[in-house]
């Protein structure tokens, strides 16, 4: 439990970094807007292949910073991420790998040590019985629990969306 809370805390602390370090290039000449809306005012224009830093996402928009330190919004589909290696983007998996705090065998925590996700899985699963295919049916949730789960997350069916298969 303590381990999980520590991880959640670390992830919260790093969540800003996940976006702050994501670099991208624009796929075509693009206007940068002052708000995440088609009707917003243009702040500046940048040419195709310009590099930008993604600061955060809101719906289908990224808040970005240009090389000239201008901050504004553009549509998500107008950018392509630059690879992790080039941009030093940190995925959750990578952060977890780098910051995993594992309870030592002695029960005394001596600090942080890096572990791969495979190593973590191996450590956690040591005392857990494997799940057989036949047991999978046990995880099928009752209809009521699915409804409660949706309510907890404030998930509501969007009746305006009509699926092509309906």
């Amino acid at each position: 439990m303590k381990y999980r809370m520590t991880h959640s805390l670390l992830l919260l602390l790093f969540s800003h970094m996940i976006w702050a370090e994501q670099a991208a290039v624009v796929l075509k000449d693009t206007q940068i807007l002052d708000a995440p809306a088609i009707s917003a005012q243009a702040i500046t224009s940048i040419p195709k292949d310009s590099q930008v830093t993604l600061l955060k996402r809101k719906g289908g928009w990224y808040k970005i910073e240009t090389d000239e330190h201008k901050i504004g919004w553009l549509r998500m589909l107008k950018v392509r991420f630059i690879s992790e290696q080039e941009s030093n983007q940190k995925s959750i998996a990578k952060i977890l790998r780098e910051t995993a705090i594992m309870p030592p065998a002695s029960g005394v925590s001596s600090g942080v040590r890096g572990m791969s996700s495979e190593e973590m899985d191996k450590n956690i699963k040591q005392d857990i019985q494997p799940i057989e295919f036949e047991q999978l049916k046990n995880f099928i949730p009752a209809e009521e629990s699915v409804r409660e789960f949706a309510e907890e997350g404030k998930l509501r069916t969007q009746d305006s969306v009509i699926l092509p298969t309906e």
Binding site: S8, G59, R80, I128, Q158
Partner: protein
């Protein structure tokens, strides 16, 4: 050449089963515990190459997922399995196939991957789960796989691969033969020819992947499904962009995923029109990052 020999062998075996079955069906003869009357009933279906029933899809699906999971380990964290099933069931409840016995399975595998099988089986790896940032991204991935099932993509692909649909019937025949004997508690396929042919078709399909147009179709329906269930549909775009940034590099944990899917740029391009549609609605666009982190930690 060996394929032709194998095909001949398989056809010969099938004819033998059918012939013996015809002679023995009326008298309830059992050979090595197998009720040949039951075999005959099942063999009747081999000649019926029409549409498959839901029951037949379920049998085919179970055989497919069992073949796919033969070398996999199911993740032992009960909270993760429960959580993924709840997200999956919430999504599936919005489809035209809400009554299917959906089963969402988390596998221990550092590779980034997710796949579906007929009958409502959806599997995804811990590598995929740990690469995502929030519940809306998970919903996007699951919705894509759910769409494959709703649209019968794997069913149709397996039917096409078997040319006449005979292979599907063989999977069913194999199970019914298995069910007829007490020696087979799991209802698994019996007979090396039958299971060998079936496993080969499954392996082939899941190695090469579905038709590209099926993938685009599942992307579009998946995004709409996420939006209908209250999730932010752009979360799936985010997943694709993150994967796209790793395309073209020799990354072992992404090789399978990239091999069986079209390029991310073309997938994003095909989503543009759908996203314009979702943009036109007032949506709740839930992301649920904290709930995801609370439930999915290694």
């Amino acid at each position: 050449m060996s394929q032709y020999v194998s095909h001949f062998h398989y056809k010969f075996s099938l004819i033998m089963i059918l012939t013996v079955s015809m002679f023995c069906s009326a008298c309830g003869v059992k050979i090595q515990g197998i009720d040949l009357g039951r075999v005959f009933d099942a063999a009747d279906k081999v000649s019926d190459l029409g549409e498959k029933t839901a029951e037949e899809e379920a049998i085919l699906g179970e055989n497919t997922i069992r073949a796919l999971l033969a070398d996999s380990s199911i993740n032992s964290q009960i909270n993760i399995q429960n959580y993924v099933n709840k997200v999956g069931y919430w999504l599936a409840s919005h489809t035209s196939r809400a009554d299917l016995a959906w089963q969402f399975i988390v596998l221990d595998d550092p590779a980034v991957n997710a796949f579906a099988a007929p009958g409502g089986y959806i599997a995804l790896t811990t590598g995929m789960l740990y690469s995502l940032n929030n519940e809306a991204e998970l919903a996007g991935v699951l919705a894509h796989e759910i769409a494959h099932v709703v649209l019968y993509h794997h069913m149709h692909a397996l039917q096409t691969k078997s040319k006449t649909g005979l292979l599907l019937d063989l999977a069913i025949l194999g199970t019914q033969v298995g069910n007829a004997t007490t020696a087979n508690e799991k209802g698994e396929l019996k007979g090396p020819e039958v299971s060998g042919m079936f496993d080969k078709a499954v392996e082939d399909l899941y190695y090469k992947g579905l038709d590209r147009k099926d993938e685009y179709e599942a992307d579009r329906l998946g995004v709409m499904l996420s939006a209908k269930a209250g999730y932010d549909p752009y979360a799936f775009v985010s997943v694709l962009q993150a994967i796209g940034s790793r395309e073209g590099r020799e990354e072992k944990d992404l090789q399978r995923f990239i091999r069986v899917h079209p390029s991310v740029n073309s997938r994003l391009g095909s989503l543009e029109a759908v996203l314009l549609v979702t943009d036109s609605y007032e949506l709740s666009n839930r992301v649920l990052a904290q709930r995801y982190l609370n439930n999915v930690s290694p």
